[in-house]
């Protein structure tokens, strides 16, 4: 059901088409100046400036926590595009938030494999626990809950992402504790990824600005246990590719 039909059914609230009020206000001068410097750095990475649009939308999202009309106006001006062109792109991609949202984003994978293995139950439990619907933000503004598509971690199902860091092998209990910790401001460590900052911090990395925290790159080690499963068995039995020390041994033995 669209917002419009919902509004019509609930008794004649004016139909809103969701169009932004134009022209959008600009960023305050000092913010604009700072962002313009970042934007110029992004633009310099590409042979054609328009390629900078996706990272620049991440950049304005890092500034405001969502992609506002102001953010889109800024991108349009920097890239010599129209606001309509920028809006068309910003609304195509699901990672750009279209309204102000929580400090952290909790995404529960409910694509088939995670859903079947428990993702649906986790999502239902979190909806109840946070008293929000899909896309909703907890009352304290800390957590926005979403169900997300397959996040390339199926061997760790069910998977929950917070600010796009991996929380593998979740249960209803672990997921509830996770959001409780986020809401209480306790330190939260992903199974794979670096200690959390917030959604805006993640957006800045997505804009192409490396995480400057000294231990962030090394955090959580090389891989989780599922990633290592095959290698572990190979090591146990001394199996290797042909030509590797282990592989030669195993070929000898096979003969």
């Amino acid at each position: 059901m669209t917002d419009a039909t919902r509004a019509a059914e609930s008794g004649g609230t004016p139909v809103a088409l969701g169009m932004p009020q134009l022209p959008a206000p600009d960023f305050p001068a000092e913010v604009r100046e700072r962002l313009a410097a970042d934007a110029r750095e992004i633009i310099s990475r590409y042979p054609d400036s328009r390629s900078a649009l996706l990272p620049m939308l991440h950049l304005v999202q890092a500034e405001e926590g969502w992609v506002s009309a102001t953010g889109m106006r800024f991108c349009a001006e920097m890239l010599d595009l129209t606001p309509a062109e920028v809006t068309a792109v910003a609304t195509f991609y699901t990672m750009y938030r279209r309204k102000p949202s929580g400090e952290h984003q909790v995404g529960v994978c409910t694509n088939t494999l995670c859903a079947v293995l428990g993702g649906d139950a986790i999502f239902a439990a979190l909806r109840e626990h946070l008293e929000v619907d899909n896309g909703g933000t907890s009352e304290d503004g800390k957590v926005t809950l979403e169900h997300i598509e397959c996040n390339a971690a199926c061997d760790y199902a069910p998977v929950v992402m917070v600010n796009w860091e991996f929380f593998d092998n979740q249960t209803i209990e672990s997921a509830k504790k996770l959001v409780d910790d986020l809401r209480a401001g306790r330190e939260v460590i992903p199974t794979r990824g670096a200690p959390l900052t917030d959604f805006r911090g993640a957006a800045r990395i997505l804009a192409g600005f490396p995480d400057e925290r000294p231990d962030a790159v090394a955090a959580s080690g090389a891989a989780g246990p599922a990633t290592m499963a095959g290698l572990e068995i190979a090591r146990e039995v001394g199996a290797g590719a042909p030509g590797s020390p282990a592989g030669d041994d195993s070929r000898e033995e096979r003969r």
């Binding site: 088939t112 397959c150 971690a153 990395i205 804009a207 192409g208 095959g230 290698l231």
Partner: protein, 486 residues
């Protein structure tokens, strides 16, 4: 009560059925599993993953990294292309197109910039190989990139990484900076006067951008919608210049070929599907994870080695390479997992994403959720896909909720037929695959949803925390899954 569902066909051969726990599987190096492990495991890319800080340049070099590159830089570009072609490396992103041939299509002496674009938009449901590969060791990709750029005479490459994986982005940023400092990238990287720039680019959440022409549009700062072909990217790709788009695993597989030779590569796999690859095992299995081995191993071997399905359960259906590859069942356990073998069985090797579902899983629920995914991710450019996936979802939701009719099953087939092969890109074909294949193998189960007035399965029994061996007692919240995308 037990769902009134015909159990998945059991295969009587081997150690029982090959779907339960193997007698020796996953219990240390007993003689049987040792032999099996030697046969089906061949860590090449994963070989460094248990080293100290394998994502660093230092660790990669210590393990012999960037040796393939120095071999390549001593060769003429065309010879590198010929070598990769002769090795028989085929694309690991799904389609299996020969990598060397893709490189060869790039016109030379055309005075246009050439681009290499890495497809790291891993989003196909079930697929989870490139993300752990890049997390553990991004340098294997970077080395592959530099070799490929030398071969196709490109001075600017891009890694298009899906945005939803910040930990991987962090390591890519770090590794690329290391490679610049070490001179593998930057000024004179490919020889005197031959520079190489590498830009890491994060996407923003769109499955369709895994389709190479949609990826190029997205990288140009547009909505990610596929382009009409021809012209192919090799002629008019990024910025209308000759462009190669390669998958992460394909490129990461190139340095070992340079370092160890094509004969070594061909000593694994089959004539038409040579080499090693990453198999991603997931679902109701005892030991999910990444398993690197020669092309052509079977799911039965892999399950036998790794302890099979979870205790007390049997395999019902599985995907060989993600949700866009037609479902297979327990009767396909011995299909060789290479490009030809899986095609012969009526599916596709795809991304080697082996998602295994046991007999507690409702196939209608599984297919409904995948179809909701395709409808959500359809870019809207072409009518068969945009409209077709929408209507498939409506029909499937009704069937799963017990509101469908027998005629709806034929309608599903009909709509899928109007999407398949008639859409602008492969997303439409992918959407049709689970519909066709599930109706082919499990039509009876669809019919039970219609005649029985709803889903006979209890979703609580499919969860990882359900005691799969216990006798099911009642249903917990059997309808929660109907509301997720409602």
């Amino acid at each position: 009560m037990t769902p009134a569902i015909t159990p998945a066909p059991r295969d009587g051969s081997g150690n029982g059925n090959g779907t339960g726990a193997g007698k020796e599987g996953g219990r240390g190096p007993a003689e049987g599993s040792r032999k099996l492990a030697e046969q089906i495991l061949a860590p090449v890319l994963s070989d460094i993953w248990d080293h100290e800080a394998p994502w660093t340049l230092e660790a990669y070099r210590r393990a012999g990294g960037y040796r393939g590159l120095s071999v390549a830089l001593d060769m003429a570009p065309d010879d590198v292309i010929a070598l990769v072609k002769d090795a028989g490396l085929r694309g690991r992103g799904g389609a299996g197109f020969p990598t060397g041939m893709k490189w060869q299509f790039i016109p030379q002496g055309d005075d246009k910039p050439h681009y290499l674009v890495v497809n790291a938009d891993e989003s196909e449901p079930g697929t989870c190989k490139d993300i752990p590969l890049l997390f553990a060791n991004p340098h294997s990709l970077i080395e592959g990139i530099v070799i490929a750029c030398h071969a196709i005479r490109s001075e600017h490459a891009f890694i298009y990484l899906r945005g939803e994986t910040v930990p991987v982005l962090r390591r890519l940023h770090h590794a690329v900076a290391e490679a610049y400092r070490a001179g593998y990238l930057g000024k004179d990287a490919l020889g005197p006067g031959k520079n190489l720039e590498l830009t890491v680019h994060a996407g923003a959440g769109a499955y369709i951008c895994g389709e190479e022409t949609a990826l190029l549009d997205s990288l140009e700062g547009r909505r990610g919608q596929p382009r009409l072909r021809p012209p192919f990217p090799a002629v008019a790709g990024l910025y209308a210049c000759p462009t190669v788009v390669n998958n992460v695993e394909s490129l990461a597989s190139v340095p070992p070929i340079l370092a160890r030779g094509k004969e070594w590569f061909r000593s694994m796999g089959s004539e038409k599907s040579p080499g090693f690859t990453l198999y991603s095992l997931s679902g109701h299995v005892a030991r999910p994870g990444q398993y690197e081995g020669p092309l052509g191993i079977t799911l039965r071997q892999l399950l036998d080695l790794t302890g099979g399905m979870r205790p007390g359960r049997t395999l019902k259906f599985w995907t060989p390479g993600g949700s866009s590859t037609p479902l297979l069942t327990a009767e396909h356990l011995d299909v060789p997992l290479d490009y030809e073998g899986v095609a012969e069985a009526g599916s596709m090797l795809g991304t080697k994403a082996l998602q295994c579902f046991d007999d507690t899983t409702c196939v209608v629920r599984a297919v409904t959720r995948w179809t909701e995914f395709y409808a959500h991710e359809s870019c809207g450019k072409c009518t068969p896909c945009r409209e077709g996936t929408f209507w498939l979802v409506q029909l499937l939701r009704d069937i799963e909720a017990g509101k469908g009719s027998m005629a709806d099953l034929d309608k599903l087939n009909d709509i899928a037929d109007n999407i398949n092969g008639k859409s602008f890109c492969a997303l439409g074909d992918g959407a049709a695959a689970p519909i066709f294949s599930s109706l082919k193998y499990f039509r009876e189960e669809y019919e039970q949803h219609v005649t029985g007035g709803g889903c006979p399965f209890d979703p609580a029994r499919s969860t990882v925390w359900a005691d799969s061996t216990a006798d099911p007692a009642g249903r917990a919240d059997g309808s929660a899954h109907l509301e997720v995308n409602a």
